[in-house]
Symmetry: C2
Subunit: 288 residues, 2 copies
DNA sequence: GTTCCGCATGAATCGATAG
DNA sequence: ACTATCGATTCATGCGGAA
């Protein structure tokens, strides 16, 4: 990254505004990694958090085009999404989106499965509970940065527990141990036998009553951020919601750029960031 | 099922021949359930087990059309498939296949994830081990046969604590919803030992215990056969390979129709069937 | 500081009812 | 007929307070 980039790109901020508009104001090739969980399709509510199914692809494509522009050549874009059912069918807009994004020049590199261990309850005569979501990986070129060692897990049964419990409690423990960084911490871990994970992630959704609901658990962006970035890298979340990705960046010593359209969510995200800083003795991350 | 159907459809057989050709000889609407794991796409090997990627959709569509014809109106088709990577990208033929099959009139009802707990080992610089496959559910109409009780799983350990004491809030919460449903609700939970599964299946890739290698484990077709059929129903596998689906049918007292193009696999499947019958004291399943 | 235990919650989905 | 809203269904988990 160059000085020029930094002079044009302000990092560690939650920007309030329309995602497409804000993205257009960002410089080319300034972002190391993009993680986002965009608003899901919803025919019923025509609010911010509900894009009609039929308009979904059309709505997203200009955004993915800008994301491709701002992403560095060796960067990665992870899109967390799951299609809705309508009229008893899985809708196909996510499939269409993948095909259209490839026409934009994106490579569809991989599809990770987020297995939601505590999925929503319910019972229906024609289907079971939906316990998984897609984490689609897109890249600009075949060679991209990937730091597999940062997400290695201990071998054996408790490795699954370890991966599953990478949430709030874990965060505190890690911070209290080391200030130098999460990846280092993990690699120094007690056992010497570590194994690479697979493309299936077993994470629970957080369900505590904290005044707001995170649409995805802290550990989801954290896992991908560790996998695709190094410290001081810049992470973009164009639909940051309540700020989960930003908190993950703070913990992992990455820079973040968050965009959020709704004022209430923006305030919530900024508050989360301030709480994090307060919890770390007022020491905010050193800015370049 | 009518007598006519049976006179035209011979069940409990492994038919050797080209799948499309054989399918065309079957009567309309005679099959209760279709499960198959078709030959994977592969550009390099031009063998039976390798359909070129670019031809895959074109190759499969006439087959899926015939499958739709032979399936009963309330039947289900489960397609176990996973796209290959080529040039560092996930290929898109499965996505395209879903879209094209919908144009044929199929409903894309659901996508189950088969999580392969002991997936193939290996390491690559740009991806992790692939630990999941798609099990795509297609139907002819919104209302289809589904026997959810047949695949219920033991309830989690949490229930022991949870049900040990009935707290005040349980009562309040129930009352707030349905008013009169409290007693009934609690009594249901107290006796409950099994719950419904989700759309994520955790199965190992272990094969049938006969020393024959199968591309998918016995438990995968068995699970779906139990879910979508009753005893005496007819199950079709148009790419039956070494006969795993047939063995599952024998165990579950379902009729099977298997199709296999290669003579060697056909012999293997027939041998598996014979071994099964020998292991059951020569009593083959009663034929109608 | 640990462990234990109660409890509210969740990117859900269907079918019935209402406009 | 067609769309919008609402109630019913249901289970594993993290969190917070208690022991």
């Amino acid at each position: 990254m160059t000085i020029d980039t930094f002079s044009a790109l302000e990092v560690d901020k939650i920007i309030q505004g329309d995602s497409l508009t804000v993205l257009r104001s960002l410089p080319d090739s300034c972002i190391n990694f993009i993680f986002t969980s965009p608003p899901y399709a919803d025919n019923r509510k025509k609010t911010y958090k509900g894009i009609p199914i039929k308009e979904y692809v059309t709505w997203f494509l200009p955004i993915s085009s800008e994301l491709k522009r701002v992403l560095k050549a060796d960067g990665t874009f992870i899109l967390n999404i799951k299609e809705r059912t309508e009229d008893g069918e899985r809708q196909t807009y996510v499939l269409e989106l993948i095909l259209e994004m490839r026409k934009q020049g994106w490579l569809w590199t991989e599809e990770y499965i987020w297995h939601k261990k505590n999925c929503y309850p319910g019972r229906w005569p024609n289907r079971f509970r939906d316990a998984w979501e897609r984490c689609l990986q897109f890249n600009k070129q075949k060679n991209f940065k990937m730091y597999q060692e940062a997400v290695m897990v201990p071998i054996g049964d408790w490795s699954k527990k370890r991966l599953a419990k990478l949430s709030e409690t874990d965060r505190i423990r890690d911070v209290s141990k080391v200030g130098s960084g999460f990846g280092k911490n993990v690699s120094n871990w007690l056992g010497k036998r570590f194994v690479y994970p697979t493309n299936v992630l077993h994470l629970s959704t957080e369900c505590a009553n904290r005044g707001h609901s995170a649409s995805f658990p802290y550990s989801l962006p954290a896992w991908f951020i560790r996998l695709f970035t190094q410290e001081e890298d810049i992470v973009l979340d164009p639909f940051i919601g309540s700020g989960t990705s930003a908190i993950a960046c703070l913990d992992l010593n990455r820079h973040y750029v968050g965009i959020e359209a709704m004022e209430s969510y923006t305030n919530l995200a900024r508050e989360s960031v301030n709480n994090w800083k307060a919890g770390h003795n007022g020491h905010s991350k050193k800015l370049i």
